[in-house]
């Protein structure tokens, strides 16, 4: 992913520690954090509080990627899912530490800290979240 190192480290709190935020007006939780709540809009300004998410949730849909982007080519086939986190927000991530055939809608999963991509052999390594089955 092009765009320089700053573009990545700016997102470190979210990608390393699942920092989202919460609208203190309607109590909805967002990930990634939003500048304002789309439901309360003006009423939420200045009332968005950071919150660390638990990282546990449930798969609501998934796919198995057979033709991947260049940075992921050596991993194919790999599962990607949209996960509904216990706090409410939905998140897109790879599912790891299980057989592809085991991935199902409704499966309970937990976030795990992993390497996501790298900028060639000498560039920055980008870390972030993937999800694994909750055992």
């Amino acid at each position: 992913m092009d765009g320089g190192v700053a573009r990545f480290w700016r997102e470190i709190p979210q990608r390393y520690n699942l920092i989202g935020n919460k609208c203190e007006s309607c109590k909805r939780v967002f990930f990634p954090p939003r500048e304002s709540c789309p439901h309360c809009r003006r009423k939420s300004m200045g009332k968005m509080e950071d919150i660390k998410l638990s990282g546990s949730g449930e798969i609501i849909t998934y796919t198995i990627i057979h033709v991947g982007p260049e940075a992921f080519e050596e991993q194919v086939p790999y599962p990607i899912a949209i996960i509904k986190l216990d706090e409410g927000p939905h998140i897109t991530a790879q599912i790891v530490d299980c057989n592809i055939d085991d991935v199902k809608i409704g499966m309970k999963v937990q976030s795990t800290f992993r390497k996501i991509q790298e900028d060639g052999y000498v560039g920055a390594i980008y870390y972030g979240y993937k999800f694994k089955p909750l055992r």
């Binding site: 609501i60 796919t63 990627i65 940075a71 990607i80 897109t92 790879q94």
Partner: protein, 388 residues
């Protein structure tokens, strides 16, 4: 607001056009539309061009001026504006052109759409298309563009029992229509077995569930309805123009299987035209993937939510069905030069409503709808056209 009509259309062949440049393609589509409209060129007030990613595909931005220049308008110095909304860029250009006439600002405008996708390799093209998705929170984590639609398909199958066979039937139908369209990238039949057994791209979507990488351009000439008489006796009136937006990332949507941008744009369009979905005689919908056509016919209100797969199975949307969908072959068979697609849909609907669609002609077609989507559903335009 003034009424607006389409008075001319032009299309290039869609496909892998190795011997044609970006400039040649847009000039060809534009001049065909200008000749078709019977305007000399001096009457044209402005130009709106839809192009998704010329910067990545041919390393060239500043497309508005380039297109005006390449089409021979440099000495007229007319306003030329490029519009971008991923794969809905063409639909947006169409709407901007429409609004500029409806508002009274312009009388006659050229709307163009173009993408020259084959000058880069397959990987680069795929990554360029993925820029329509959320780079920070989707693409970064390894999801591809087909992967996003695959997740819509999986959820649709889970909730409504839609089958892989029903998805495949969309491709089979659109290829059957594409055979009849001399401008289509693929003019060949595919069987259900071929579609079902195609190389897997992102489960459950195989290669035959995906629209191809295409070069091509399309153009239409729009004119204030009160001034069409001078140019044509077959104007096609634009009776509605709707547009909607939604979250950039698929995962943030209210419902994974519903494109609320489509629901919103359609509602806006039906209200403006004072019509119901049942009044539509035919539709060009955004079938970038087979599941997208199933969602589109549901979200446009042609069938109940969840019944799209069954509707395809029951052949409601075939050329001789009760609601023909994608008579042009759709994105799947006609091809999908992303910025051109939304304009090419208007070309097809116009030809149908003029009774000039030859072997694809839908009998007694009077009202047609064009539905164009950007990304996984973050932008949508819906236009409704009526034969005068």
């Amino acid at each position: 607001m003034r009424d607006v009509a389409v008075i001319g259309v032009g299309l290039t062949k869609f496909g892998e056009l190795w011997d044609k440049s970006f400039r040649q393609l847009i000039a060809e589509a534009g001049s065909k539309a200008i000749f078709d409209a019977g305007v000399s060129g001096n009457e044209i007030d402005a130009m709106y061009i839809g192009s998704m990613s010329s910067g990545r595909f041919i390393g060239q931005e500043h497309i508005g001026a380039l297109v005006a220049d390449a089409s021979g308008f440099s000495q007229l110095h007319i306003p030329a504006t490029r519009v971008e909304g991923a794969c809905a860029s063409g639909g947006l250009a169409m709407r901007e052109g429409y609004l500029s006439i409806a508002s009274g600002m312009n009388d006659i405008v050229v709307v163009g759409g173009i993408e020259k996708m084959n000058d880069v390799g397959g990987n680069f093209a795929t990554e360029t298309l993925a820029t329509a998705a959320d780079q920070e929170w989707e693409a970064f984590f390894g999801v591809t563009f087909p992967g996003l639609y695959a997740m819509i398909a999986m959820r649709h199958m889970h909730e409504y029992g839609t089958t892989k066979e029903q998805l495949a039937q969309v491709a089979v139908k659109n290829h059957a229509n594409g055979i009849l369209n001399p401008y289509a990238q693929y003019q060949r039949k595919i069987t259900l077995e071929q579609a079902l057994n195609a190389t897997m791209v992102a489960y459950p979507l195989g290669l035959m569930d995906c629209s191809p990488v295409t070069d091509g351009a399309a153009s239409v000439i729009l004119c204030a309805a009160e001034k069409t008489k001078k140019f044509t006796d077959k104007p096609v009136k634009i009776i509605a123009s709707g547009q909607g937006s939604d979250t950039l990332a698929l995962h943030s949507r209210r419902d994974i299987c519903t494109l609320d941008a489509t629901v919103h744009a359609a509602k806006m369009a039906y209200k403006q035209a004072n019509l119901k979905s049942s009044n539509i005689d035919l539709a060009e919908v955004h079938d970038c993937f087979t599941i997208a056509e199933i969602c589109a016919i549901e979200d446009l209100g042609f069938v109940e939510k969840g019944q799209g797969g069954k509707a395809v199975e029951n052949k409601i949307t075939t050329l001789d069905g009760s609601l023909p969908v994608n008579t042009s072959g759709g994105l799947k068979s006609k091809g999908h030069p992303v910025g051109a697609t939304g304009v090419a849909q208007i070309v097809e609907i116009t030809q149908q409503l003029r009774g000039e669609a030859e072997k694809r002609q839908v009998k007694d077609a009077r009202i047609g709808l064009a539905h164009n989507i950007g990304g996984s559903g973050a932008t949508c335009t819906v236009h409704i056209l009526e034969a005068v």
